[in-house]
Symmetry: C2
Subunit: 163 residues, 2 copies
DNA sequence: TAACAATAATTGGTGTTACAAATAAATTAG
DNA sequence: CTAATTTATTTGTAACACCAATTATTGTTA
């Protein structure tokens, strides 16, 4: 493989681009918080709950990569705002099923999907070949990171950090 | 511009790739936290302080996009661990200059730079043309997001969310 | 079946982050 | 020289994130 004269420069620029992307996502998510009035974690939980009609607390914690106790607190606050509803399962009375209320569903419908919104607003008016180039570059990047087979989980975490 | 037959599919895949990248970053940063024993915000602050020999609290807050009071708390805990040192400025006795201690410098030297680490581990053994493709795709993406002129700021925030 | 272990959600407690409001001290402006 | 501004801080509130311990239910096995 022929050595590029300025590989290091390209790597540095790529890192800068990655940081810019993170910044853009941060801005979009702050916007989402302002619009919905919910915190990032709360909005994240609502989105995950919306994925299925009903989900048990432990599964919700697993999907959010959070400790169950943390999820309980988030659910307490969401329930106080009447966005979600808890109910004991009939088949197994240990489990608690969490579902969205009518208000919760409405919020999901109107709350902005950050990643989606970023691309929809930005990519809609772009040419095909540019879109393809972006797609190829991203796919290659994911492959580098060894994340091809990782499930593209919904991300709204408070623990996403780049140094 | 000719309409691709499966534009929507490509957009969806690109979003999935973005999520995978976020997940990779999350994993890397957790690793960094485990290694250093610091929280994300603390590590972030240390990195920013390390950028210049000495920085005043208000500037640090601006660079971290945080409220000054939040930074004061973080500095309290870093100072308790003797990683940073506060001193009143001679020229303007209102300002407090924050600098790294010897231990702080050592920590910076050994703590992993997440974005850097991601690419160094992944991109080192990749071919030139793949690297170029990634770079082009990322640059195009940044342009789409309207972030070309945004400073690629160090990111270690607790509020990075994708829905 | 009865004792034991495992699971599910919760409570209580600790530490960190994040901000708003108010304060104290120093500098700058009029 | 007084008034306004700047700088960092304290105080208070809320959310997040986890650990340890608890209650209730289900499963296992002796």
């Amino acid at each position: 493989m022929t050595k590029l004269p300025d590989r290091n420069k390209i790597v540095a620029e790529t890192i800068d681009d990655l940081r810019r992307i993170f910044q853009a996502v941060t801005d979009f998510s702050r916007q989402a918080e302002r619009i919905t009035g919910l915190t990032g974690s709360q909005l994240w939980a609502v989105k995950v709950i919306a994925e299925s009609k009903s989900i048990k607390v432990s599964d919700l914690a697993k999907r959010m990569y959070l400790h169950p106790t943390t999820v309980v607190g988030i659910l307490d606050r969401l329930e106080a705002q009447e966005l979600v509803q808890r109910s004991r399962s009939k088949t197994d009375r240990r489990v608690v099923d969490v579902a969205l209320t009518a208000s919760g569903e409405k919020l999901v419908a109107t709350s902005p999907d950050v990643a989606q919104g970023m691309l929809v607003t930005g990519l809609e008016k772009i040419t095909d070949d540019k879109l393809v180039r972006i797609h190829e570059g991203m796919a290659e990047f994911v492959k580098i990171l060894g994340m091809e087979e990782a499930p593209p989980r919904l991300i709204l975490s408070n623990e996403v950090n780049i140094a």
